[in-house]
Symmetry: C2
């Protein structure tokens, strides 16, 4: 599966397995390769199986149906004209699917998947121009000229996705005609946009992160230099602003190095940041890396939802100001979740800091897992934290708008999310474990399966048994280890107060959130038991988040929970529900559900306007048990209203949200 002719990319050279999306040219941390982890039945295998069985074919069918694939055939046949279906970036969906297919093949070795990949490459490759330019929207008779619209043309964005697919191919099957096509496309970009070429950047970042990884995969640093050039060119207002959105929409009003917080279109900002991390790492630019870490911390602390979702605004699919986090109009695009994983993973590999992996877990369980339907053929594009009006029951078998409220759709007018999910889930393993300095095995995400850590002194094979996140127990058994044992590091999630670790049936030693290095090396036959308490817990918003004032959320383990109207007692509407926080929420039947004490608050009679001379009367009129269910599966049982942040009931006696939870500050972390 690995082509031995590939050049080593950096100082870590002894790991021959290359099937991973990110492989920095410098540094001592490396993710496991796809075939070094096999999943057992559990949360992530269910999602990955739905991706294999459902999403991959679903995407091909839709792109065939809409003519996005046929666009390549028409260019090859010279019949492309002014009437071309799909947006200017529809080629990129084909490339993201190619990337997904080749990771899928790399993970499974499934010859049928490989054959599908090759049949798509037949069509894509036939549309290549002689000079390596490849785009079905621009540069053909009846079509706009090449590079005539840097702001919205997405030509380099499309090229970037092709290069990411080529990297995946190189690392799963080795050099082939598709990789060669990628080289020609990349070389064309270098000729057109090099230091002596056009002084342009693409309105949608992507080429930067793609070229950086292409440099790593090929060992050719010219590609990295070009990525760096694109990053340095950006932020100087060379792009023609889009009406109403301005240059901040595509991060062209300020250079990356001078940026305090991510802003503008969320996916654009995150793809750009991912590429900048790659450059900072490979070029040993620690000043740039520091700036990017600061951006992450500023953005995560002030512009990120409890789900890990990013993007507060529909208008520009963008970040809002600090503290602007409306639950109802949260955009939290699925693709921004993918972008966030891309950045956090790169920052983890660069620094080894645990908070990046914590955010990845949150985003995986509450954004990535939320989007697809169980069969992988319908998707949320936006992932709001509140739904005021019931969505449709079933959407038509048609192209939908991006943000149909409350129901997953089979396909979208702009359909970036299905293929982005596909490539992410096909390569899920690559984000779950790593090796540090060739001698430390690091387990990052918990799921049932087998992990092969290639350490300097030999293989550490860990078998993980768990029903996490539905259960607290995670059992690790060492089925193979180097003779002198192996160092093992476990991630204790930031929410896991009261976690413990025991070795070989010994006492359960309390561990605190962060990294937990086992005090002794592990040996073959040993058993380690990690317990991550998944009791339901209340989570409070920062008081500066205006749109969440007076509310609280309930979480269990890594799962954000929500209230869906279909779980409410007959006759009670979600808009009159308040949570009584004087009673702690408790687990409910299914391991991922919770039950809390709730009250119905009466609606207020007001004048003509919804404002009055006295505050809301919050007397509790009816007490009942509130069922909370995992957010990632909301709207799956049919139309419902939903909210993650529930208003806090005010005690009618003291008029305050009192009780042990409020007074007891000892659990502050």
């Amino acid at each position: 599966m690995t082509d031995s002719s590939l050049q080593p990319a950096g100082p870590v050279t002894d790991d021959a397995q290359r099937a991973r999306p990110v492989d920095p040219a410098r540094g001592t941390r490396r993710g496991l390769a796809l075939d070094q982890i096999s999943l057992d039945p559990g949360f992530w295998k269910t999602l990955q199986d739905a991706n294999s069985a459902g999403t991959l074919r679903h995407c091909i069918e839709w792109m065939e149906r809409l003519g996005w694939l046929a666009n390549f055939d028409r260019v090859a046949a010279g019949t492309m004209d002014h009437n071309r279906p799909g947006w200017q970036f529809s080629d990129s969906e084909v490339y993201k699917l190619l990337e997904a297919l080749t990771w899928e093949y790399g993970r499974t070795g499934d010859a049928e998947v490989d054959a599908i990949f090759e049949s798509l490459v037949d069509r894509v490759a036939a549309a290549e121009d002689e000079d390596g330019y490849l785009n079905t929207y621009f540069g053909h008779p009846g079509r706009p000229e090449r590079y005539s619209d840097f702001s919205m043309g997405h030509e380099l964005y499309c090229a970037g996705h092709l290069l990411q697919a080529a990297v995946a191919r190189m690392r799963t099957k080795g050099e082939d005609r598709f990789v060669a096509l990628g080289r020609r496309v990349a070389d064309h970009v270098l000729r057109e946009f090099g230091p002596e070429g056009r002084n342009g950047v693409c309105g949608h970042p992507e080429i930067e992160v793609a070229l950086a990884e292409f440099a790593r995969a090929t060992g050719d640093t010219r590609y990295r230099d070009q990525a760096r050039l694109f990053i340095d060119r950006r932020g100087h207002g060379t792009l023609t602003p889009v009406p109403l959105l301005g240059p901040a929409y595509f991060q062209d009003e300020i250079p990356v190095r001078d940026t305090e917080s991510w802003h503008g279109h969320a996916v654009r900002a995150l793809y750009l940041a991912a590429g900048a991390v790659d450059i900072a790492v490979d070029a040993e630019d620690s000043a740039l890396l520091n700036v990017l870490e600061e951006q992450w911390h500023h953005t995560v602390a002030r512009r990120t939802y409890l789900t890990g979702g990013m993007g507060s605004r529909h208008q520009d699919e963008g970040f809002g100001e600090d503290w602007e986090l409306p639950p109802d109009r949260a955009y939290c695009e699925t693709c921004a979740g993918v972008g966030s994983l891309m950045v956090s993973w790169r920052l983890y590999l660069a620094t080894g800091r645990v908070e990046y992996v914590d955010l990845m877990e949150r985003t995986l369980f509450n954004v990535i897992a939320t989007s697809p339907s169980p069969d992988g053929t319908a998707f949320f594009y936006a992932n709001p934290l509140q739904q005021r009006v019931e969505g449709s029951d079933v959407l038509p078998d048609a192209v939908n708008s991006r943000a149909e409220g409350g129901v997953r759709a089979p396909w979208f007018d702009v359909s970036c999310c299905p293929t982005n999910l596909a490539r992410t889930l096909a390569s899920w393993q690559s984000y779950s474990a790593s090796v540090e300095a060739e001698n430390l095995a690091v387990l990052l995400q918990y799921t049932a399966g087998e992990f092969d850590f290639p350490l300097r002194n030999g293989l550490l094979r860990l078998h993980v048994s768990t029903d996490y996140p539905n259960a607290s127990d995670i059992a690790l058994s060492v089925s193979e280890a180097p003779r002198e044992g192996a160092a093992l590091r476990l991630r204790i999630p930031s929410w896991a107060n009261g976690a413990s670790v025991s070795v070989n049936g010994g006492p359960a030693d309390p561990v605190t959130p962060g990294w937990c290095d086992l005090p002794e090396p592990v040996f073959e036959g040993e058993e380690i038991r990690l317990v991550l308490p998944t009791e339901p817990r209340l989570t409070w918003p920062d008081p500066r988040i205006d749109a969440m004032r007076g509310t609280v959320a309930v979480e269990r383990g890594p799962l954000v929970l929500c209230v869906e109207s279909r779980d409410l007692p007959e006759g009670i509407s979600l808009e009159s529900v308040a949570l009584d926080v004087s009673v702690s929420p408790s687990p409910d039947g299914d391991g991922a559900r919770a039950r809390a004490k709730s009250v119905k608050t009466p609606a207020q009679a007001r004048g003509a306007l919804p404002f009055g001379g006295v505050p809301a009367d919050q007397e509790m009129s009816e007490e009942f048990d509130l069922i909370l269910v995992p957010y990632h599966r909301w709207a799956e049982r049919g139309p419902s209203t939903m909210r993650v942040f529930v208003p806090v009931a005010v005690d009618p006696i003291s008029k305050s949200p009192s009780g042990p939870i409020l007074e007891g500050r000892s659990d502050e972390r």
Copy 2:
């Protein structure tokens, strides 16, 4: 000033003065005409003077500079081509300005204003096609075909604004060449879109309300029938939806008669409703009128801001769902304020209900008065209730985007608001008083000036002296009255608890919000004193408004107040301010300001995300006096952050927003 050859429009026939925008063909209520009211120095005269001296010329200068006026010259000269400046609706700005100019002339008789009007008509009229079609965007060589884009073409929208200007001309100067042009344009619309014509409606309603009033002004009911046809055609999905926005954007997914609440693009929804009220009244369609009253009540009770502002979303400039009223992303377009006035005024004339006039006062003081700068040459397009980040100090002398945060702009890419303000302020008088059944004088808005009520038995002339809303006292003196006296009705605003009326220095009789009919007729020489208490008061949001939970606003009289960062003590930022509601706010110096007790709440230290395991610590760290200033003048002293709804401080002892204000519910209205 009035052409006596005009046909009477309905049963009310004895009022020869016709200079008013709305004159229903049926019913017993009629607004005063423009020349029946003259304003003395005061709040509204200041705004009207700035409109006269600043805005009218400013709009002409900008439309000249951008070529929007020259578009007419180019069509006339046959030189229009593919390269035409301005959006497809830029002609409408010229027509709204014509309407403003002719109201201005009708009010003032200023010959210079009339000359400007005529000079613009020279240019507009020259662009008319032979068949009465008049549009500079469509139907010329190199331009799109006529009626080739109903969804976004705005052709009938532009025609509607021309007809509204023609109505204003008819009622201020009488039949002339511009009115004749209007007739040709209207007749063209009838030929093209009559029962046997194209089955189309305009993506932006306006032609309906314009044709309805044109029918009233001309006495020709064919125009009314056409308006009715447009209204009945709408809501059946004939318009091609705009990507992402869908048919609800232009109210084409459900007929007006079946609509529960205003939705979609706010200005579109309101213009459509205004036309529908006209049709319901003139055609005696009481079922339709009931539906429109229900729509008003539903929308005002659940989708309207404290300022009277409408529109919660930037993406579609539209209404949100019920209770979706974010202060920070409130759109509250100035033009939606104009549209709201149009609907409420028509509903008042149709029903005589006071709540419509109450909302108009709120909208006039807090949306209409907010938009223009003191000199009338810069404007807010959107009117949010919270500004998180300081705006620019001064904007460039350039076309700006619609929603530059926190600073008024001289002109916009889509520049509908300046001309809409111009026509509204030029005819402000017409909304301030009315006569009912020819024998009852009704004073609706309070401002210093002289009001001539033409009653059946003679003239009632009322002189009003007041510094309202900066002062509570309103002195009315009767300088002329019919011999047998006149019946007088006063509006007591919904917020005015503790109001009183005294006649001729007699005792102050308490009056309650609603209509106050003086118990005896008024006679020449009498003096009436109305006191509307303008003590600062707290106003609380409905608990279902998630984005305002835990906050309170302060109002004084009809004015919504706000906190601006420049009034905070040194070193305190607006995001850490909370209001101590155990102390009532008090007046502060200037009659329109208030002072309240406030505290600084410490920022919370959290983890990586802005969420934590304990609720916000709201201990008060520092007490200070909070200055509140009128919202309508915010951002005038330079860059600031601002908020109308201020978080309520929680008492550190009881942890509750306790105190007399919370406990005392006796002031509920």
